[in-house]
């Protein structure tokens, strides 16, 4: 019996979720998880069949639901349902050349933060005080990402974040420790491990994916200098689709060049 690699991410994020909630009570409550997951899966089930006739991608919808439940902080319940539905719908409404452009969770969270700041906030605090839970999540997460062949994306982003944090520190005069502080928190763990590595919304070449990850960190630096609290989400929101469109244009251009009839070869001397 072999292990289906596609289950790695759902299992990992489930373990993180329940471990974090059991240890630190990080969630609003189980009703929020249920609402978010039910919303994403129900939307996926209905829209995928209706609009493409294909089998639903339940693992992806499940990850989106769990991610919404973890990353959105609200005392209200409706943001979890709305965020879940918007996330999955974005896959089927905002498309180009049969590909969705935004990571669904990223789109859903950005939509909530932008449209409903009076009701939601992002996860922005530590889970507990100990170094060990953070290290365990990073180690297990990096291992899983390595198995999924996406490790280069996460490492490129983390490296760029540390570099640009140094630049920000020089610009703002704040302590370097303050500028790197966010990446020691769980929001960045989930962002770097699960969101920017989404195969469906990342360019396909290894080198291209690394460049995109660095670009996300680069744009995030400017957003942070503008004191935008949700900088990583917005940076991915801005960079991700642009990168995909560029890749599509580049790929289609290359295909067109390859498939174009070749003209007569000039006789050489």
């Amino acid at each position: 019996m072999t292990f289906d690699r596609r289950l790695t991410a759902p299992l990992l994020i489930t373990l993180i979720l329940f471990g974090a909630h059991w240890s630190f009570g990080v969630l609003r409550g189980y009703e929020a998880i249920v609402l978010a997951v039910v919303s994403t899966i129900a939307t996926e089930l209905s829209l995928r069949r209706l609009l493409t006739g294909q089998a639903p991608q339940l693992a992806s919808a499940y990850i989106s639901g769990i991610s919404i439940a973890i990353l959105v902080r609200s005392p209200l319940l409706w943001p979890y349902a709305l965020g879940g539905v918007i996330s999955i719908m974005s896959k089927y409404v905002l498309r180009a050349r049969r590909r969705h452009l935004w990571n669904p969770t990223n789109f859903g969270i950005c939509a909530l933060l932008f449209l409903a700041p009076f009701a939601v906030a992002p996860l922005s605090v530590q889970w507990g005080n100990d170094l060990w839970p953070m290290l365990v999540i990073w180690m297990v997460g990096l291992f899983a990402i390595w198995r999924a062949k996406r490790l280069h994306i996460t490492l490129a982003y983390i490296g760029a974040f540390f570099l640009f944090a140094f630049v920000r520190s020089l610009v703002t005069g704040s302590a370097y420790a303050a500028e790197v502080a966010p990446i020691t928190g769980p929001m960045y763990q989930l962002f770097a491990l699960f969101m920017i590595t989404d195969p469906k919304t990342t360019v396909s070449s290894t080198r291209g994916a690394i460049v995109v990850a660095i670009l996300v960190a680069f744009v995030e630096m400017f957003l942070r200098l503008a004191e935008i609290i949700y900088a990583p989400f917005y940076a991915l929101f801005l960079v991700g689709p642009v990168a995909l469109v560029v890749e599509m244009w580049w790929t289609s251009g290359a295909q067109a060049r390859e498939s174009a009839p070749r003209g007569p070869i000039a006789p050489t001397a």
């Binding site: 409903a116 009076f118 939601v120 906030a121």
Partner: protein
């Protein structure tokens, strides 16, 4: 046979699917508009209403406030402490407490007086004696309760009054970042320092205290809750690692204390013996018999972490049941603890204030409604959202009181953390560090400088009116309680003996506000002034129930609650249109139950505990 038209290989879709895509896009757009619609309707229902003329406000809501401090001789402004210069870059968020108010009838003349604290070295606390003619005079210096803010002994954070020696006069415990003080009231003419009998360390960083007789021996005991650890002298810091180790799970705060009153003028410190052992960042506490077993239980609100609920085991000790009860599962920023019988069902509902900053941190305030039966271990459900009292702001002190005498408890919440020199927000930097690991967040040296910026500043207080049908309505502006200073404490008292609750609000680095309440004469009331004999003489912990045609209400006498506050010791009931009552039933702290049939309404009743 496929149930759906197949996708066409070149990426186009068959017409039915194209139609479905268009519909999906429209639905998607509609969903994106949902938050805007919710915000529109929510703000329309909860914007405090338009500013109304007093007569209109009374006609519409049954009451109106007028801020009159200046005209009655009260001109007091809180000043914050200037701490160690190492904290200068973030001084406003550290020196953010100390504006407190407590109500007392210091000389037993039948008029409620005000004691307010300031926190600058050399600053003078004030005791405003109510002359009974509508004016007040500051007698703090004359009585020896003013000069309590000194370099060597620290500064005031608040005060609670209770007759610890049962001589008939309310004594005062002033909790401080520094050396706390217990001052014995000598017949309202002077105060004697009796701190040395407390058994407290010479220096603590306390932000709350509550008088209650936990063991029902007839002598008031004292709970003291601390914020920073006792070792921290905020004026002389050897290093800057003094901040909470986490924004939501910090346990590196100060320990708390329980001082058992021996009855001979001395106290013994027994916190660890009875099970109060945590070191969270305590900001508020309140006592009430939440499980209905006859002894006072204790709720402790902690910043940067979970709260604590201590069930009293018959005076033998306390069991912390917060998690099991549901009130301590999710860490927030507990800054207030107030009990009230919100639904008139004879049960203690608990209000805890937290942080709600749009888009940054939406903790939401908690309204913990009991779901347990009397005598059972407490369990609660948070109904703050359902009742409309969840989102207030960066909330601090809150009090329940029947402001319009309609028979239902209303809610007053103060808001605002730091109003800086500019309205530019410090939240970006604050949240950046708050999300960091403890080695980063715990060191004030890592915190970016505030440079005059605000952190949830310029927020207005909230006055929510209980409609008796399960909803609260924001009437702040309509009834004249607009205050955009950084509100801290709120306390209620009938300052002119008119059968209404007036409100006193303190502001950090801001003025003391006194709101005179004018209530519709169509609503009746009853007030009780209790004196214990077998119980502690202040009767703190006494529960009073009134019964009548359509009337069933519960109040208690408290020895400190809210945030840095204490209401008047008298218990006040609004009765709506009920002109008569069937009875009053008092359960004294001693356990004695006293029934008073057919008490007169619109009357202050002075009642002594039967021997």
């Amino acid at each position: 046979m496929p149930s759906h038209p197949p996708a066409i290989a070149d990426g186009t879709v068959a017409p039915p699917r194209r139609l479905l895509s268009v519909i999906a896009a429209l639905v998607f757009l509609a969903l994106l508009a949902v938050p805007g619609a919710i915000r529109h309707f929510a703000s329309a229902a909860n914007d405090g209403g338009p500013v109304l003329a007093v007569s209109t406000a009374i006609e519409r809501h049954g009451f109106a406030f007028e801020e009159i401090s200046d005209s009655i001789g009260i001109r007091f402004s809180h000043a914050p402490p200037a701490l160690d210069s190492k904290l200068d870059p973030i001084m406003p968020v550290v020196a953010a407490y100390g504006a407190a108010v407590s109500i007392v009838d210091v000389d037993r003349d039948g008029w409620q007086d005000l004691y307010v604290t300031t926190s600058a070295i050399g600053g003078q606390n004030a005791l405003y004696r109510n002359r009974g003619d509508g004016s007040f005079e500051n007698i703090a210096a004359r009585l020896g309760v003013a000069d309590l803010n000194r370099q060597a002994t620290g500064v005031s954070m608040g005060a609670v009054w209770g007759d610890y020696d049962n001589d008939g006069y309310e004594d005062v415990f002033v909790y401080k970042w520094g050396r706390p003080e217990l001052l014995r009231n000598d017949r309202g003419r002077s105060f004697e320092r009796v701190t040395d009998g407390l058994g407290l360390p010479a220096w603590i960083n306390a932000n709350t205290a509550v008088w209650f007789d936990y063991d029902a021996d007839g002598w008031l005991d004292l709970f003291v809750g601390c914020f920073y650890p006792a070792e921290v002298d905020l004026w002389n810091l050897p290093h800057t690692r003094i901040m909470p180790e986490s924004f939501e799970y910090a346990q590196n705060g100060g320990r708390n204390y329980l001082l058992r009153n021996r009855g001979d003028g001395s106290f013994e410190e027994i916190a660890e013996t009875v099970g109060l052992t945590t070191t969270r960042w305590t900001l508020a506490a309140a006592a009430a018999d939440v499980d209905g077993d006859g002894d006072p239980d204790l709720f402790v609100a902690n910043d940067y972490g979970i709260n604590e609920l201590y069930v009293n085991d018959g005076g033998r000790g306390f069991r912390e049941v917060g998690r099991a009860a549901g009130v301590a599962r999710t860490p927030k920023s507990g800054m207030n603890a107030s009990f009230g019988d919100v639904f008139n069902r004879g049960e203690w509902i608990l209000y805890v204030s937290n942080i709600s900053e749009p888009g940054v941190l939406i903790h939401g305030n908690d309204l913990w409604v009991p779901t347990h039966d009397a005598g059972a271990d407490p369990t609660y459900r948070n109904l703050a959202g359902a009742l409309g009292v969840e989102i207030a702001g960066f909330a601090f002190g809150a009090q329940f009181g029947d402001l319009n005498n309609d028979g239902w408890l209303d809610l007053f919440v103060t808001n605002g953390y730091v109003s800086g020199e500019t309205r530019e927000s410090y939240w970006y930097d604050y949240s950046m560090v708050a999300g960091g690991h403890r080695n980063i967040i715990a060191d004030a040296g890592n915190w970016p400088a505030m440079r005059g910026r605000s952190l949830s500043g310029y927020q207005e207080d909230r006055v929510w009116l209980n409609d008796g049908a399960g909803r609260f309505h924001d009437v702040t502006r309509a009834i004249g309680a607009v205050n955009a200073h950084d509100g801290r404490a709120v306390a209620f008292a009938d300052l002119w003996n008119r059968g209404v609750l007036d409100a006193v609000v303190t502001n950090q680095r801001g003025p003391l506000l006194v709101y005179r309440n004018t209530v519709t004469p169509n609503h009746r009331w009853i007030t009780l002034d209790l004196e214990g004999t077998r119980s502690n003489r202040s009767a703190i912990g006494a529960e009073v129930r009134v019964y009548g045609d359509g009337v069933r209400q519960l109040r208690q006498i408290e020895g400190g609650n809210g945030f840095a506050a204490q209401n008047q010791r008298r218990v006040h009931f609004g009765l709506g249109s009920a002109s008569q009552l069937d009875s009053i039933v008092i359960r004294w702290p001693s356990g004695i139950v006293q029934a008073i049939p057919a008490p007169a309404t619109n009357t202050l009743h002075r009642i002594k505990e039967p021997g």
